[in-house]
Assembly symmetry: C2
Homo-oligomer: 244 residues x 2
Amino acid sequence: MTYCVGLNLKHGLIFMSDTRTNAGLDNISVFRKMHSWEIPGERVITLLTAGNLATTQAVISLLEERNKSADERIPYLLQAPSTFQAAQIVADTLREVIARQAETGQKADSTFNATIILGGQIKGGAPRLFLIYPEGNFIEAGNDTPFFQIGETKYGRPILVRAYDPDMSVEDAIKLLTVSFDSTVKANLSVSPPFDIQIIEKDSYRLGRSWRMEADDPYYTTVSQNWGEALKAALESLPAFHFD
Amino acid sequence: MTYCVGLNLKHGLIFMSDTRTNAGLDNISVFRKMHSWEIPGERVITLLTAGNLATTQAVISLLEERNKSADERIPYLLQAPSTFQAAQIVADTLREVIARQAETGQKADSTFNATIILGGQIKGGAPRLFLIYPEGNFIEAGNDTPFFQIGETKYGRPILVRAYDPDMSVEDAIKLLTVSFDSTVKANLSVSPPFDIQIIEKDSYRLGRSWRMEADDPYYTTVSQNWGEALKAALESLPAFHFD
């Protein structure tokens, strides 16, 4: 599995993804699940991918190739007039890849499906965040659900639901994401550091800070060690239960 | 879906289960998923069930009937010499019911599977807790994993993993379970109050306190309202993230 989150904050977009892929429990590897394209000053687009690795790699490669061969008739990501159109291009590419693999008549233990979070900003529009389904349709994050998760989403969801605030600072959002990822890692073997983190500041039209948080990252280990205690203290702070 | 938890504490066993069942989103009902048998002073056994409702009801009915017709040759729950043997009887009954439904050749949208937590104490033995799989095999909670969850387990797991302590008081355990259930209810429509709660005190060999926590239960609503704030405060208490 995988765990990726995209947050839409007042300050911009923040992405975080783990890097574990596994084909069976004894075949695990580190793969980057975060991919970005930019024309500084004009547009920036980031994808987070979850699902079949062959599918997601094919989607990324096709998007890359089409960006490079500008004479192809298929509209490409760096020409899309809006993030909505960019999401449409990615969605079409995803559907195309899945359909091609399904067509061969081969059967796999798992499906060829994949899910993608797309976030970015193109000059003339606001920062936007989309969730693209394997069927090739997609939804946009609104004010009511201003973040998307893909992959192994459940363990890390309660803290996001309770503590996410669109006005929060970038630093607070990274703290929140670190806790959400740590809760998932503690509960599920298929999600693991290192984590890739990226920030796209609103109206910057370029990739912002982007780094990899390793398993021995001092901030990650501090959060991981302290969160258990903090949770216990939170539980402690609730009114005690008493029998009548 | 369903959410049920069985905890093995130094003080005894605690069980909690939700009551929502659904066949589609527009067909939801309240059903009890907690079933107990006792011979006061000698034995007490509680089951929590998750999965296909027809399957779990058939299992409970068969166990009930066999308890009543003492002359049947199949060993029954109230005669099992140990909780291990009781778990074996329940597991065999579960496998039998699933096999019978699969035999008809009918296809259902969902499977006929079910999973069961069995906990109890029979004179001569310690309180024990088992997790019974649809295949009819089962595992026992040990010192390293002293609780079991079934159904929609992921949302409520992080708090259990971090805050469970076998030495905790019964009251603290109920607080912990209330938070775990609330986190699940907040994230998943298929789990809902009222919740059934039951306590089996160690070496009491009888059902202890047992009650239903309704959606408007004052303690539940207090925990539900305060947990969001408590979580935010916990997050606040962690060291802030700083860019270098």
